[in-house]
Symmetry: C2
Subunit: 264 residues, 2 copies
């Protein structure tokens, strides 16, 4: 078991130091108020297609930073090492998951370009402040994520389905959740769907494609947001020769404030 | 004199047809409610730097669409030809303005990638609806635009200063204008500065770097928004071998609704 719990509320730099020391946990609920991000690193000759894919699919893939070739630092998290400071990574070869290490020092290449992409955890603080309960945090679980039947708009060699995160929300609070998240368009914005999962091609909420199943309470309605794991689904579908990503739900915690991504 | 005036309120496709037939006017106030965009085309080997420059400078350079290499169409304006449907273009070689034609058929190249970038005209309908007067439209002029002393974050070979558009706003309506535009982050969002032009390094409001001087009325305050002409300033500073752009204020009018870019 990890020694740090959410109630410790470490600063982002302290959390990253724990993860660098191999604490291996999903980051939902960690460092409330600080922006968590998805990570994907690809060889430089794939970088244009990834950046264009993100531009063409801004709801699932809002880009918050792009490194220069080979760099492992970001202004969003001064002092962070992108090769070690995520709790768990995934290594992809030709679209296949080949490793899930706690750092990527042995996999790093000088030609990698790294994309940091917004995460719906960013609006969770705002949801909580607005009185919207977060079932996955209550249940100590990773958020549930699903591949959908909605294709992203392709870009060059990159294509794949949109991935969504799902939150069970009391019916009377769906409108509040929609309003609060819509004001944060740089981190997925408002929901892409409310209600019947079948309309997104999701057969069984109890069997998410990524993350953990999360139990509904009576009166809850499933609400779906575009998810920054979408680039991983594109990697699986498009099979670039090599990619590194975070493991879903095991995010990079930055020093940026969630509040920074609220437009009003 | 052009045969069409603002009071005709042509549909976007009709306006584009007029411009294709060589009607040569700034587009401020044309087709209210429809999104106008900035255009820049660069050779494919410069496209990554342009896209990354835009990602790193989202206030002045919100990308609304990127074409595939060589394409002159966009889903934002079905039926439009990007080589003819802007009222006036600029042709750049090594950072120098070499021509300002009414179409670019003779300058087109198969290796061009075209970026369509949000324009502050998009929130002008919303400002007008909120009761904020638009002095440049009242005066039948192009909006005034200025180079600033604020450098953009560079990307690869591309660097340059932020350009801003300026609107004279009655002091009592500055807060309204800020709120209304902040809800449209995909088209520059809220102002970057209110008040003293010197803080942006602007010496004389009567001598804009692009567009026309616009007279203030008593009680007006100058309000500055990041401007989609910023990529042109980057072209001038960074000197790519070739680029095409619209002429400042002579925009592509799309079929997208301004409303689409409002987050709440």
């Amino acid at each position: 078991m990890p020694t740090a719990t959410r109630s410790d509320a470490p600063a982002p730099g302290q959390a990253r130091a724990l993860f660098r020391e191999r604490v291996d946990v999903p980051t939902a609920g960690w460092c409330p108020g600080y922006t968590q991000v998805n990570l994907i690193s690809v060889p430089a000759d794939w970088a244009y297609d990834v950046l264009l894919f993100c531009q063409r699919n801004p709801k699932p893939c809002p880009v918050l930073d792009v490194t220069d070739r080979g760099a492992w630092t970001t202004p969003l998290a001064p002092g962070a090492d992108l090769r070690t400071d995520v709790p768990r990574y995934r290594v992809w070869e030709n679209g296949q998951l080949v490793d899930e290490p706690l750092d990527v020092m042995d996999h790093w290449r000088d030609d990698l370009v790294t994309f940091l992409i917004g995460c719906s955890f960013t609006f969770e603080s705002a949801l909580a402040e607005a009185g919207v309960p977060l079932r996955h945090v209550e249940q100590g679980r990773n958020v549930a994520m699903y591949r959908t039947n909605r294709p992203c708009r392709p870009a060059g060699e990159l294509h794949g389905p949109m991935v969504v995160s799902m939150r069970q929300i009391p019916a009377g609070l769906v409108e509040t959740a929609t309003q609060v998240s819509s004001l944060m368009p740089a981190v997925h914005g408002g929901p892409v769907h409310v209600g019947d999962p079948a309309e997104l091609g999701i057969d069984d909420l109890a069997r998410p494609d990524f993350g953990d199943p999360v139990r509904a309470r009576p009166g809850d309605v499933p609400v779906f947001w575009a998810c920054g794991v979408t680039p991983q689904a594109a990697v699986m579908a498009s099979k670039p020769p090599f990619a590194l990503t975070h493991a879903p739900g095991y995010m990079l915690i930055t020093d940026a404030l969630d509040e920074h991504y609220r437009v009003a």
